[in-house]
Amino acid sequence: MTRALLIALAGLSYLLVLGPILIVIVTAFSPTEFFVFPPPSLSLRWFAAFFETESLRDAFVRSVWLAALSCVCATVVGTMAALAIARRRGWVFTTLQSLFLAPLIFPAIVFGLSLLLFFKLIGGVPEFPGLVIAHTILGTPFVVRAVSASVLAVDPVLEEASASLRAGPLRTFRLVTLPLIWPSIISGALFAFILSLGELNAALFLTGPGVTTLPIEIFSYLQFQGGQLVIAAASAVQVGIILVLVVAVERLIGLRRIVRSPS
């Protein structure tokens, strides 16, 4: 009885989470002019329309670049921050830790506005670099969190063992610490990438005419042109990219785990 209830509840939550996404994705393959669910047949018509619409295509390419660059920056900054503060005690490091995690709780829309003002204050920053900076800052906490947790799980004695075997700090990091924490670096990076790809609030303030991201473009497209199905196709492409990345990372990390330390 309780078992049935649990299964029903689990099913319901999956339905709530996945249902809307599935509807959008299925709709993206619709051949009809307007929203019909379920679609009478399947076609790639709206995907073609998406890639043929210059503003959408440009925004898409820019978004992917933006996600890639800010993901790399966030990963480097976040990993270094995590390595520097994860194991330290005392109020200085606790404060630093909270500072690095602040963007997680700060409303992104306020953050976007303040960053815009800040850029104005220092004499202006071009749109694209500004976006990279914004998304780096927003993505960093995810990396810090993921990497901190795994740094704390690495026994410091392993690093002493490495030093006792004549490895200096750099070699110890490369040969001992890094191999043990890199799955968390990768998953932090993945989060930063996904976050950037879908980020709307901060981008609202930092994009400008001709320099928009896909979420912004989708937003304005919906507001002014009303073509729903091409937007469904855009979303499907976005979801597709994320899915491919998640599966790739999962396989990479999972596989390495199996190869390297079977239990």
Partner: protein
Amino acid sequence: MTENAYQNADVRFERVTKRFGRAVAVRDLSLDIPQGMFFSLLGPSGCGKTTTLRLVAGFEQPEEGAVYIRNRNVTGVPPFKRDFAMVFQNFALFPHLNVAENVAFGLKMLRVPQVQRAEEVRNALVLVKLEGFAERYPKQLSGGQQQRVAIARAIVMKPVVLLLDEPLGALDKNLREEMQVELRSLQRQLGITTVFVTHDQEEALTMSDRIAVMRDGLIEQLGAPREVYERPATEFVATFLGASNLIDAVAIGSENGRSLVEAAPGRFAIASTGFSAGQRLRLAVRPERVRIRPIGASGLPATVREVVYRGAATHLFMESKGLPLIAFLQNDTGASSGWQPGQAVSVDFEPDSVVVLDRTRSA
């Protein structure tokens, strides 16, 4: 307590003090560990054994004094530039590397060429009887096997000094005793200077050439196992290493090159001399040196309180005029049997079984 008599000290401490905040972990320690010696640091938890070892390794830096490894002052030198190898308490094997890669790690750092490296790794694995395990990962090994990998990884470095911090603590009793013997014979075979940390007195007695008994950051006594066990310098050593009967007495004179003392149970002779009459003494007698005879024989009168059969020995708990006494009697000839609680007996011991403790350094 310090011995600077050795020419070839592989490890030397010169008046080393190490503090953690206000706590002093090692106090003004001077120590020489000669080449090839198996040296044990023995003491209760928190006495500074690990800190002493980590000072040799360079994982801790002293506030005062200097540390030498084979005549090179390594004070302030980072660990990876010191000539030592270490076996850690929980082995600290690299989980992402297999056995061969773990053992090869240090050789790689020393830039030993591939072919020679493979050869040395193979030899080291043979030495610790792990030939067939090169491809395994640490998680796929038992505790004892991981222990051997850790030892192989250390000795393959041919370090000046091998440091071991309670390396057998994680093993069960049988394996532990087996590894004690193996480790010792390996150490003899390689002739490698070894500093071994343990809080297990039997382990220290079994394995060491020399034992330093530590307490509160100080070396309380330093000597060969037999010396430290049979001639404990202080009450702490007398009770930390095995059991002792502690007797307060007053010197009353001397005869035939012996001293006569008076304690609560009565008078007896001790082998040490040079006391003035009336001098107060703290004496220790090992329980296995105590002899029991039927009442009426010469000796101190006592009453048996409890008899505990322990297999190889029988432990007799007695009381003599308010002074508790213990005797360990070997269960070999039957001499130990037949004693009953409540029975009045006569207790005595050879004069040279009595050790005079240093009262100034007692607790």
